[in-house]
């Protein structure tokens, strides 16, 4: 019972989220991007969100991160409602967004500096640099790094705050195919080491199947039309997904 309560406390719960944006060409009408999304993620779970681009996956992550606010609906980290950004929810974007004026080491330290705990936790910086295999690059500036290395720094920077949930917004989307496959295993290794709850947005079905405990494809465009080509394509995509997923993932 106690164990269950702990698990529940670090899980992510999303209920009936709605979010719309003004349409770019016509600011008066609003475009509904998320229409009543609900799901939850158990502690230590690695869940993938897949869906076509523009369906609101990134919007959803920004809402969970607290960077934007919902029109209606509830978001909980454990029992805490989400109202603003916080260090217990890490976010890694497709672009690593490293601060170019800081060295690799100082980028990784950034979360500790921002929370004013650098003095107590300085020894952790080395640990996280080792974790992502960048001990030798502590003094390098971001523009010296390759895409994969930069993304590893971004992961270490997000993980050093020991987030309850790590939100990954297509973090490997900009990498070449080989780096991408290596980084998928890298992220899996980090996850297996630390058992951080992860929510991974991707549009690569291979990646979703390879990495996740569970795949959510809830965030699909509305309104839906059974006879549209989009609908049919989506249907065949999901069928294919179920077929290939088989025993390696539950869908």
């Amino acid at each position: 019972m106690v164990a269950f309560a702990e698990t529940d406390a670090s899980a992510l719960r999303i209920r009936e989220i709605r979010k719309s944006f003004p349409a770019p060409d016509d600011p008066v009408t609003k475009r509904l991007v998320l229409d009543g999304i609900s799901f939850s993620v158990a502690a230590g779970e690695l869940v993938c969100l897949i869906g076509p681009s523009g369906c609101g996956k990134s919007t959803l992550l920004r809402l969970i991160a607290g960077l934007d606010s919902t029109d209606s609906g509830e978001l909980f980290i454990g029992s805490q409602p989400i109202s603003e950004p916080g260090a217990e929810r890490g976010l890694v974007f497709q672009d690593p967004n490293l601060f170019p004026w800081l060295t690799v080491r100082r980028n990784i330290e950034a979360g500790l500096v921002a929370r004013r705990v650098l003095r107590e936790k300085r020894n952790e910086v080395n640990e996280f640099m080792r974790l992502v295999g960048l001990e030798a690059f502590g003094g390098a500036y971001p523009h010296h790094l390759s895409g994969g290395m930069a993304q590893r720094v971004a992961l270490a920077r997000a993980l050093i705050n020991h987030p309850k949930v790590l939100l990954l917004d297509e973090p490997l989307g900009a990498l070449d195919a080989f780096t991408r496959m290596r980084m998928q295993d890298e992220v899996l290794r980090l996850w297996e080491n630390r058992r951080t709850t992860m929510l991974l947005v991707t549009h690569d079905i291979d990646e979703a199947i390879h990495m996740s405990d569970r795949i959510i494809t809830d965030a699909l465009p509305r309104p839906r039309d059974r006879s549209s080509s989009d609908f049919l394509r989506l249907r065949s995509d999901i069928l294919e997904l179920l077929h290939f997923a088989g025993d390696s993932a539950t869908a």
Binding site: R62, P85, R89, L91, P100, A158
Partner: protein
């Protein structure tokens, strides 16, 4: 200094020539590079001695002494560079420039002293200017120090106020709403246009001139700082917020570092404006400094002193400018292209 030129230099587009040149050339200096400077100086000396009958002996004496010194120093350097690599690459880079500069002195000598193609007293020869430089060195040094004091105090005030107002305008919406129109209307007025007002308001000429210089620096620094801060990439701010950053961190550790390249453009534009304002203020109100010296010497029709002061000004201002470039290179070491390992 031209704004476009500053901006292109600031963008860090200078080619990385140092490393390539070292590998491309051999380890010895060709004889042409070695002897260009002493030969040019010898040439100048010969020309001058040819026409020296027309110049006072004391001018000829110091000018020839200078040429002998150049010849002597360059020969010593030619010997030292055989044993000292850094000097060699520096000489390889600088010798052509020095040679051209020395030859220009010869041309100047020919045109003025030699064939007297330009009217006197407005266009004295190089020897006369050198003589003024030497005989008036005390007053020139004193003027330079006064100019420096005025420049530093005015620039520092303008810089500080400009940074603060730029950060406030860049970061806060309400401050931008009220501050930006003021900035747009008042800023473009050249600082020197305020001279009549400054003379009435301020008790001392030094304070009013420093205030004008501060005003000249304040506008570009504020403008560029504000635009740099408000153009901070939103994703940097988002990342910092998900890392647990508060407002202080967002302003001082994200927005300001992100704006630093822009801020430096403002600093360079401000520096150019401050030189201009300094010289004008000194020749109008202040009774000391290089600007004052120039107009004073002009009043006595001692044009050789005017040129002497101009030479000091050129050295002074370009040194200050170079210092700012050094600071920029140090601060912006993280930027691609400005890095020199």
């Amino acid at each position: 200094m031209n704004r476009a030129a500053i901006q292109s230099t600031l963008a860090g587009t200078e080619p990385e020539r140092d490393a390539t040149e070292l590998t491309r050339h051999g380890s010895t200096l060709s004889w042409r590079v070695q002897w260009a400077v002493p030969l040019a100086a010898l040439f100048d000396l010969a020309i001058h001695l040819l026409f020296s009958k027309r110049a006072p002996a004391v001018e000829t004496h110091s000018y020839s002494l200078l040429m002998y010194e150049i010849i002597g120093v360059s020969i010593v350097l030619n010997i030292v560079q055989r044993f000292w690599m850094p000097l060699r690459s520096w000489m390889r880079h600088m010798c052509p420039i020095f040679t051209a500069a020395i030859l220009l002195f010869g041309v100047w000598d020919v045109v003025t002293l030699g064939f007297q193609m330009l009217p006197l007293p407005y266009f004295p020869g190089p020897a006369a200017v050198l003589r003024s430089l030497i005989s008036d060195r005390g007053l020139l040094l004193d003027s330079t120090l006064h100019s420096l004091a005025l420049l530093v105090s005015g620039y520092a005030v303008g810089l500080l106020v400009g940074l603060v107002s730029g950060i406030c305008i860049g970061w806060s919406g309400p401050i931008r709403y009220w501050g930006m129109p003021l900035l747009k209307v008042v800023g473009p007025i050249p600082a020197t246009a305020w001279i009549p007002l400054a003379m009435v308001i301020s008790p001392s000429a030094f304070v009013s001139s420093a205030g004008l210089i501060a005003l000249a620096v304040w506008f570009p620094v504020t403008m560029l700082t504000a635009s740099g801060i408000s153009n901070t990439r939103a994703s940097y701010l988002d990342v910092a917020r998900t890392l647990g950053a508060g407002r202080t961190y967002l302003i001082f550790r994200v927005a300001i570092p992100a704006a630093v390249p822009n801020i430096f453009i403002g600093l360079f534009m401000g520096l150019g404006a401050s030189f201009l304002t300094l010289v004008v203020a000194e020749s109008v109100g202040v009774k000391s400094g290089l600007g004052w010296y120039v107009s004073w010497a002009q009043g006595w029709a001692e044009y050789s002193k005017v040129y002497a002061a101009l030479i000091i000004m050129a050295a002074f201002f370009s040194t200050v400018m170079t210092l700012l470039f050094k600071v920029r290179d140090r601060v912006l070491v993280w930027q691609k292209g400005t890095i020199k390992w």
